[in-house]
Point group: C2
Chain length 145, copies 2
Amino acid sequence: MNPNDLLTIGDLARRTGLTPSAIRFYEDKGLLQSHRTGGNQRRFLRSDIRRLSFILIVQKLGLSLEEIGEHLRSLPQGRTPSSFDWWKISEAIRESLDRRIAQLQSLRDNLDGCIGCGCLSLKTCKLYNPDDVAAEGGPGPRVLR
Amino acid sequence: MNPNDLLTIGDLARRTGLTPSAIRFYEDKGLLQSHRTGGNQRRFLRSDIRRLSFILIVQKLGLSLEEIGEHLRSLPQGRTPSSFDWWKISEAIRESLDRRIAQLQSLRDNLDGCIGCGCLSLKTCKLYNPDDVAAEGGPGPRVLR
DNA sequence: GCTTGACCTCAAGTAAGCTTGAGGTTGCAT
DNA sequence: ATGCAACCTCAAGCTTACTTGAGGTCAAGC
């Protein structure tokens, strides 16, 4: 297969383990782009395999598609992203991951004092009020980020 | 207020910061029970304040209501939970929290090697396949637990 | 006894991240 | 030229964790 060949959505699905519907969904959300054939079918670049892999990996780290989109928009438009481009993104993600780990650790460290004692006072509980971390958030599932 | 007084749903809401609708929702899900007055209104025990506080706190640690329910079902039925009861639960939760932190740490440690290098090979990526961690999961939002 | 706020139920809406299905088109092989 | 898999769009459904609203009842103060 020539490196200039374009991939169908099915090809891309097979290479990434995603379903075509998921890929269309991501395109809808602006996480990748496609060209169209005369007959209106999508054609993708080979570099989109990497792009989707990135999405899958970073999703496992707990980032939302929204957040992933922001990172992806920092990639260069028009040229295939270089190693350095990806490295810059991975740095940014590692930092937020570090923050989340630290947060979870401090929550854990307060767990015994807070629940273990049985007092469970919402007013004094460090766990419940660790500096207003993850305070609001509107409707929908609330996940610690 | 006498310790034997029952609380209305509004009282409980005020004491916990939850809305009445959220409390009804939790009752629906079996996370707490209520008695009813002759006029079909809910009445709660004072120990339900603690129960709800527990739910709120543990939610911040990232557990789903489903998981929280499982923990709560391990509490004694019929008697007010003791400090020791709560302590046992907090131990169990701390352990799963520890596991999650360890998982995140190993993901982070692989981040540079995996994304940073730009290869992003799904087959060889440790990040993507850290022993099938968080593998499947059906529809709906996928969050690393 | 009457008003008023708090309560009740049930249905529908919201957000995220997709899937599933209906109804129709394309593209490749024979 | 035709058959069939793969593609297309658009609408609706699913899960989690709730909220909002409609339409109606209860309880407590005056």
